[in-house]
C-alpha cells in the first residue's frame, strides 16, 4: 500500500516536473520579447527539475532501501548557477539593446547611454581593511 | 535503432567534412570538431549498441563492450588537444598573414592568381 502511494507520488512528481519543464520551454518559445522569454526557463525549468529530483530521490531511496539525497546536490548547483546565466544573458540583452514589447514600463538608462553606473564597486582588497 | 544511429553518424560526418572544405580557418576547425564527434560516435558503436549495461563490474550478467569506450575516451582527449592546437594555429595564422583564409591570402590575391 505504501508502495502504491509512493509510486503515485513519484509519478505525480515526475509528470509535474515534466510539465513545468515543458511550460518553461514553451515560454521560451512563444513569449514576445527576449526579456520576457528569459523568465520561462529560469524559473519553470528549475522547479521542473526540482520535482524530478525529488522523484528520483524517493524512487532510489525506496528501491535501494537506503536514503538517496545526492539529487539535492544538483538542486544546490542549479540554485547557484542558474541565476548567473540569467543575469549575464539579461546583461547581454541590455547591452545589445534588444527590442522589447511596447507596453513594457520603465525606461532604464541602459537603453539610453552605454556608459553607465560610474565607478565599479570596490574590490575586496580594500573593503576588507 | 542501428539504422538511425548509422544515419546520424553519416550526417554528422558529412556536415563536418563539408565544413573542412571551406576556405576560412574557423569553419574548418569547427568542421574538424564536428567530424571528431561523428568519428567518436562511429568508433564507440563498433562494440555494438547496448542499453543499460555499463561496463561496471557488478552483479549484472551482461555488459557493454568496454574497449571501444576506452578507445573513444583516448580519441576524445587527443581530439581536444588537436582542436586546441588547430584553433590557436588559426589565430596565429591570422596574426601573421593578416587574414583568416586557409591559404593565407586575401580574396583579391586569389582573383589575380586564377
Amino acid at each position: 500500500m505504501l508502495y502504491v502511494i509512493l509510486e503515485a507520488v513519484i509519478s505525480a512528481l515526475l509528470i509535474a516536473g515534466g510539465l513545468f519543464a515543458f511550460i518553461g520551454s514553451m515560454g521560451l518559445a512563444h513569449l514576445r520579447d527576449f526579456f520576457m522569454r528569459l523568465h520561462g526557463p529560469t524559473k519553470a525549468t528549475t522547479l521542473g527539475i526540482g520535482c524530478m529530483l525529488i522523484a528520483s530521490m524517493l524512487y532510489f531511496s525506496v528501491t535501494q532501501s537506503e536514503l538517496h539525497l545526492q539529487e539535492l546536490l544538483i538542486t544546490l548547483f542549479l540554485f547557484i548557477t542558474a541565476p548567473v546565466s540569467a543575469h549575464l544573458l539579461a546583461k547581454v540583452g541590455l547591452h545589445q539593446r534588444l527590442k522589447f514589447v511596447d507596453k513594457t514600463r520603465g525606461k532604464p538608462v541602459e537603453f539610453l547611454d552605454e556608459d553607465i553606473g560610474g565607478k565599479p564597486l570596490s574590490d575586496s582588497s580594500d573593503s576588507n581593511s | 535503432m542501428e539504422l538511425l544511429y548509422a544515419i546520424t553518424t553519416g550526417v554528422l560526418s558529412a556536415s563536418g567534412l563539408y565544413l573542412t572544405l571551406r576556405g576560412r580557418t574557423f569553419p574548418v576547425v569547427v568542421g574538424l570538431t564536428l567530424l571528431s564527434y561523428a568519428v567518436n560516435l562511429f568508433l564507440f558503436s563498433m562494440g555494438g549498441l547496448t542499453s543499460n549495461a555499463p561496463a561496471i563490474i557488478g552483479d549484472s550478467s551482461h555488459y557493454s563492450d568496454p574497449l571501444p569506450q576506452a578507445l573513444v575516451l583516448t580519441a576524445i582527449v587527443i581530439g581536444f588537444a588537436m582542436t586546441a592546437f588547430a584553433i590557436i594555429l588559426a589565430m596565429r595564422a591570422r596574426g601573421d598573414m593578416g587574414n583568416d583564409h586557409v591559404d593565407g591570402r586575401k580574396a583579391e590575391d586569389r582573383g589575380e592568381r586564377r
Partner: protein, 955 residues
C-alpha cells in the same frame, strides 16, 4: 691483390693534392704524380703474365645481394687503356703545372684530375658490370668538376652541366642495359657475361640491351646525335680537354664497345647500329671541324669524327677491324693529346684561340709549330705518321665488310669523304695558325712556352713519328694482348709501314687531294654555310632545359596550386573511393543481428543531432551561431553515450565540451566574426555531393558493423577487470592498466599541445576588434560582479567534485581525466570572472611543470614496475584494513591516474590561461580605444628575449 692496388692507389691519389696543395705547386705536382706513376709501374709489371695469355683478376665480395663484387681484371685491353690513361695523365699533369695560372687552385685541379684518372682506371679494369658502371658514372661526375673548373665563366658552367646531363643520362641507360644483361646471364661477372654471347643473342631482350648499352657508349663517346656536348666541354682548361677529350673519357664509350664486343657484337643489329652511327658521326663532325673557327672547337669536332671512325671499325667487327680500332685508339690518343697541348700553348701565349686572329706564328714558336705539324700530319693520316697506318687499315676494313648488307658499298665512299675532310681541317689547323696571314692581330705577342711545358707534346709527337715508322716494334706488343682480349682469341697480325699500292692507298690519295682542295676552298664554304642559321648547341640545350623546367613548373603548379581546399577535396575523394570499394564488396548491408527497436527519445536525439549537425554546416558563415549549434551536437552526443551505457564517455564529452567552447570563444574574438561568401554555388554543390558521398559510406559501414555480431577480445577485460586490475569500472581499468600505454601517449599529446600552443602564442600579433560584429562598443563592465561572486563558491565545489570523480574512477564512472577537466574548468571560471592579472597573482604555480609533472608521474609509475621485475606499466593493488575506516584499496593505477589528472589540469590551463593572458595585457583599454577606422586594433607583442615564455607565468 697487387691488382687491387692499381685502381686503389690512383683513387687514393685524390687525397695527395688536397694534402700537399699548401706546400707550393712544384711539390704538389711531384707528390701528385707519385701514386699514378706507381700504378703505372704496377700495371707494366703485370705485362709478362698478360703476354703469356693470362690475365690477373681479383674479386672481393661487396654486395652479393646485388651480384656486385669489387672485381678487377687486367687483360690486354685494360693494359692498353691503363697505359694511355696513366701515361698521358702524367704528361697532362706536367703540362698543367705550367698551364694553370698562379692564382688558380692547382690542388683542387689536380684532385679532380686524379679522381677522373682513377675513374677511368676503374672502368677499364672493372671485372664486374656494376663496378664498371660505378666508375663510368664517376667519370661523368669528375668531368663535370673539371669542365666547370673555371666556374666564373658562364660557358664553363653550362658546358659542364651539359656534359654531365648527357653522359649522366647515358649512364642511366647503361645501368638499365647492364641490369638486363645481368638478368639474362644471371651474373654481372665480366667473364661470365663475355662467355655468354649465345644466351644473350638468343634472348628476346637482346635488342633492348644493345640499344641501352649503346646509348651509354654513344653519349660518352659523343656519337651522333649526342655529339653536341663535346665542343662545349672545350670551355674547360686545355689540359682537361687534352686529357678527357683525346685520350680518356670519350674513349670510355669506345672501350665499352670493345669490352662487350664478345658478348654483344655477334648480330647484324650491332653492325648496323654501330657502323651507321659511327660513319654518320665521322662525316658530320668532320664537316663541322672544317668550318669551325675556334682552335679547340676544330679539335673537338675532329675528336668526334675520329671517334666515329673507331666506332665504324667496331661496328664492322672483323678481327682486322678490331685491330684497326685499337690501333687508332692508341694513335688518336697520341696525336690528339699533342694537338690539344699545342693549342693550349698557343692560347696561353697568343691569348686567343680564334683562327681569324692567329697566323704566322711559325717564326715566334718554331718548336711548337713543328710539334703541331707532326701531330696534324698524323691526324690527317699522312704517310710516315701513325695516323696513316690505322687509317689505311680503316679503309681496308670498310672495303671488306658486309656489315650494312646492300648498303655496305656506301661505307668506303663515306670513309673517303671523311678522310678528305680530315685532311682539310688538319691542313687548315696547321696552316692557318703558323703560316697564313692573320686577319686580325692577336692580343698578345707570342713566344715559345717554358721548356717543360712543351715536353709532353714533344714526347707525344715523337711517338707519332716513332709508331708511324716502326709500328711493329712499338705497337704490336701492346696491341696483341688487347686484340686478344677483345676477340677472346689470339690474332696473328703484322703491322707494316707499307702494304704496296692498293685500293686503300688510292682512297688516301683521293682523300688528301680532296682535303687540300677543300681547305683552299673553305672560305667559300664558310660563306656558303653562313647563310644557314647557326645553331649553337649550348643555346638549344639550355633552352630545352629551361623549357622543360618551365613546363615542370607549370605542371607542378597545376597539381599543387597551394589551395588547402583542393588538397582536402582530394583527401576526401580518395577516402570516399576507398571506402566505397570496400562497401561494394559487402553483399548484404543488414547483418544477421538486425535492428533493435526504436523509442521516441532515440528518434528525438537523432533528429536533434541531424538538425544541429547540418545546422552547424549551414550556418557556418555566422560563426557564433554555428558554434552554438556545435555545442548542442556535443551535448546530445554525450547524452547518446549515456544512453548506450557509456557513462565515462558521457562525463568526458561533457567536460571536454565546456573547455572546447571556451577555447573557441577565446579564438573567435581574434578571428573575423563572419565568413565572407566565397565558394561558388557549383563548388558548394561539388562539396555537398562529395561529403554526402563519404557520409553515406560511413553510415553504411557503420550500419553493416552494427548489425553484425563480432567475437571480440572484450570479454577478457570484463573478466579480468576486478581480479587483474583491481577495479570495477572496466573502462577505467582499460585506460589505466590494460591499455595504460595508450593513455600515457594520450597525456603526452595533451602536454605537447600545451607546449606547442605556447610556441604559437609567442610573439603573436593580434587583431582585436574594439566593437562586436554589429559595431557596438564593448560593454564597460569587465568583471560582472555577480559572476565574480558566484565563481568563488564554484571553485571549491568543483575541486571537491574533482576529488570525488577522481577517487571513484577505478570502480565507477570517473577518473583522472574527467577530474582534471573539472578542476581546470573551475579555475578557468575564475579567469573569466576576475581576469588574468588577478588570478595569476593568486595561482602560485606555473602550468607547464604541472603538465610535465603529470606525464612524469605516469612515466615513473611505469618505471616502478621494473623494480619488481615486471614490464613497464605493470600495475599492482592491494587491500588494507584500517581500523574504524574499513577496507581501503590502493592501486598503482591510482598513481598513474594522478599523473593523468595533473597532465590534464596543467595542459588545459597552459592552453587557456596563456591564451587569455596573451590577449589581455595588450588590449586597448577603454580610455585609449578611440575607434580606429579599420575597425581593428593590431598589437605586436614581442617577448622574444625570453626563450621560455612560460617562465613569466610564475609569480
Amino acid at each position: 691483390m697487387t691488382l687491387l692496388w692499381i685502381p686503389m692507389l690512383t683513387l687514393l691519389g685524390v687525397l695527395v693534392p688536397a694534402l700537399t696543395a699548401q706546400r707550393g705547386r712544384p711539390i704538389c705536382t711531384l707528390a701528385t704524380a707519385a701514386l699514378p706513376t706507381l700504378a703505372l709501374i704496377l700495371t707494366l709489371a703485370q705485362f709478362p703474365a698478360i703476354a703469356d695469355g693470362e690475365y690477373p683478376r681479383v674479386a672481393l665480395e661487396w654486395m652479393p645481394q646485388l651480384g656486385l663484387d669489387l672485381a678487377f681484371r687486367l687483360d690486354g685491353l685494360s693494359l692498353l687503356f691503363n697505359i694511355l690513361i696513366l701515361g698521358i695523365g702524367l704528361l697532362i699533369l706536367l703540362y698543367a703545372h705550367y698551364y694553370l695560372d698562379k692564382s688558380e687552385s692547382h690542388g683542387r685541379f689536380y684532385a679532380y684530375l686524379i679522381l677522373f684518372m682513377a675513374s677511368m682506371v676503374g672502368i677499364v679494369m672493372a671485372d664486374n658490370l656494376l663496378v664498371l658502371w660505378i666508375f663510368w658514372e664517376m667519370t661523368s661526375l669528375s668531368s663535370f668538376l673539371l669542365i666547370g673548373f673555371w666556374s666564373h665563366r658562364s660557358e664553363a658552367r653550362k658546358g659542364a652541366r651539359m656534359a654531365m646531363t648527357v653522359t649522366g643520362a647515358g649512364g642511366l641507360a647503361l645501368l638499365a642495359g647492364f641490369l638486363l644483361l645481368g638478368d639474362i646471364v644471371g651474373s654481372f661477372d665480366m667473364q661470365t657475361v663475355l662467355d655468354s654471347a649465345d644466351i644473350i643473342l638468343a634472348d628476346p631482350r637482346y635488342p633492348l640491351v644493345l640499344v641501352l648499352v649503346l646509348l651509354g657508349a654513344f653519349t660518352k663517346s659523343a656519337q651522333f646525335p649526342f655529339h653536341f656536348w663535346l665542343p662545349h666541354a672545350m670551355a674547360a682548361p686545355t689540359p682537361v680537354s687534352a686529357y678527357l677529350h683525346s685520350a680518356t673519357m670519350v674513349k670510355a664509350g669506345i672501350f665499352l664497345m670493345a669490352r662487350l664486343h664478345p658478348a654483344l657484337a655477334g648480330s647484324e643489329l650491332w653492325s648496323a647500329l654501330v657502323a651507321v652511327i659511327g660513319i654518320t658521326t665521322m662525316v658530320y663532325a668532320a664537316w663541322f671541324a672544317l668550318v669551325e673557327s675556334d682552335l679547340k672547337g676544330i679539335l673537338a669536332f675532329s675528336t668526334v669524327s675520329h671517334l666515329g671512325l673507331i666506332t665504324v671499325l667496331l661496328g664492322i667487327g672483323s678481327p682486322m677491324a678490331v685491330l684497326a680500332a685499337l690501333f687508332h685508339i692508341l694513335n688518336h690518343a697520341t696525336f690528339k693529346a699533342a694537338l690539344f697541348m699545342c693549342s693550349g700553348i698557343i692560347d696561353h701565349e697568343a691569348g686567343t684561340r680564334d683562327l681569324s686572329r692567329l697566323g704566322k706564328l711559325a717564326k715566334a714558336m718554331p718548336i711548337t709549330c713543328l710539334v703541331m705539324s707532326v701531330a696534324g700530319a698524323a691526324m690527317a693520316g699522312f704517310p710516315l705518321f701513325n695516323g696513316f697506318l690505322s687509317k689505311e687499315m680503316f679503309f681496308e676494313s670498310t672495303l671488306h665488310t658486309q656489315a650494312l648488307g646492300g648498303l655496305s658499298l656506301m661505307l668506303p665512299v663515306l670513309a673517303t669523304i671523311g678522310g678528305a675532310l680530315s685532311v682539310g681541317y688538319s691542313v687548315r689547323l696547321v696552316h692557318a695558325v703558323f703560316f697564313a696571314e692573320p686577319r686580325h692581330a692577336p692580343p698578345k705577342h707570342p713566344h715559345e712556352p717554358p721548356r717543360l711545358m712543351r715536353a709532353p707534346a714533344e714526347l707525344l709527337a715523337a711517338l707519332c713519328v716513332a709508331i708511324g715508322l716502326f709500328p711493329a716494334l712499338i705497337a704490336t706488343w701492346l696491341l696483341a694482348p688487347a686484340v686478344e682480349a677483345v676477340l677472346q682469341a689470339p690474332l696473328e697480325f703484322h703491322l707494316a709501314i707499307w702494304h704496296g699500292f692498293n685500293l686503300p692507298l688510292a682512297m688516301s690519295g683521293a682523300a688528301a687531294a680532296a682535303g687540300i682542295t677543300a681547305y683552299v676552298l673553305h672560305r667559300y664554304i664558310r660563306r656558303f654555310i653562313r647563310d644557314f642559321p647557326s645553331r649553337n648547341a649550348n643555346l638549344i640545350f639550355e633552352g630545352a632545359v629551361q623549357y622543360i623546367s618551365d613546363k615542370a613548373e607549370v605542371i607542378t603548379e597545376f597539381f599543387d596550386n597551394g589551395s588547402l581546399q583542393r588538397f582536402m577535396a582530394l583527401l576526401i575523394g580518395t577516402a570516399l573511393l576507398m571506402g566505397a570499394i570496400g562497401l561494394f564488396q559487402v553483399e548484404t548491408l543488414t547483418g544477421p543481428k538486425g535492428n533493435q527497436p526504436l523509442d521516441g527519445v532515440l528518434i528525438l536525439g537523432a533528429m536533434l543531432l541531424i538538425f544541429t549537425g547540418i545546422g552547424t554546416a549551414v550556418t557556418h558563415r555566422q560563426r557564433l551561431l554555428s558554434l552554438i549549434m556545435l555545442s548542442v551536437v556535443g551535448l546530445i552526443v554525450s547524452l547518446t553515450f549515456a544512453r548506450f551505457s557509456a557513462p565515462d564517455l558521457a562525463l568526458t564529452q561533457l567536460s571536454v565540451e565546456v573547455v572546447t567552447m571556451i577555447l573557441l570563444m577565446l579564438a573567435l574574438f581574434f578571428l573575423p566574426q563572419k565568413t565572407p561568401r566565397e565558394s561558388s554555388p557549383s563548388r558548394s554543390l561539388r562539396d555537398v555531393i562529395m561529403c554526402s558521398g563519404l557520409g553515406v559510406v560511413i553510415a553504411a559501414l557503420n550500419y553493416a558493423v552494427l548489425t553484425r555480431d563480432t567475437n571480440t577480445i572484450s570479454s577478457f577485460f570484463l573478466e579480468n577487470s576486478v581480479p587483474g586490475g583491481g577495479g570495477h569500472n572496466a573502462v577505467n581499468v582499460i585506460l589505466v592498466d590494460f591499455r595504460g600505454f595508450d593513455t600515457l601517449g594520450e597525456i603526452t599529446v595533451l602536454a605537447i599541445a600545451g607546449l606547442a600552443i605556447l610556441k604559437l602564442l609567442n610573439r603573436l600579433r593580434l587583431f582585436m576588434p574594439h566593437s562586436d560584429s554589429e559595431g557596438r562598443i564593448w560593454c564597460p563592465d569587465r568583471y560582472p560582479m555577480i559572476l565574480t561572486t558566484v565563481s568563488q563558491p564554484v571553485l571549491p565545489l568543483a575541486l571537491l567534485v574533482s576529488v570525488f570523480i577522481f577517487l571513484r574512477g577505478h570502480n565507477l564512472p570517473g577518473g583522472g581525466f574527467i577530474a582534471g577537466l573539472i578542476t581546470a574548468v573551475g579555475l578557468i571560471l575564475i579567469y573569466m570572472a576576475r581576469g588574468v592579472d588577478w588570478t595569476q597573482q593568486r595561482l602560485a604555480f606555473p602550468f607547464q611543470p604541472i603538465a610535465i609533472l603529470g606525464v612524469g608521474i605516469a612515466t615513473l609509475t611505469g618505471f616502478g614496475s621494473w623494480l619488481f621485475g615486471y614490464p613497464f606499466l605493470t600495475s599492482s593493488y592491494d587491500h588494507f584494513h584500517i581500523p574504524l575506516i574499513g577496507d581501503l584499496e590502493l592501486a598503482t593505477a591510482l598513481l598513474f591516474d594522478l599523473g593523468v589528472y595533473l597532465a590534464v589540469v596543467g595542459a588545459t590551463l597552459m592552453i587557456l590561461a596563456n591564451l587569455g593572458k596573451v590577449t589581455t595585457s595588450h588590449r586597448p583599454s577603454k580610455d585609449d580605444s578611440t575607434p580606429i577606422p579599420s575597425g581593428l586594433h593590431r598589437t605586436d607583442i614581442s617577448d622574444t628575449a625570453n626563450p621560455n615564455p612560460d617562465a613569466k607565468e610564475t609569480v
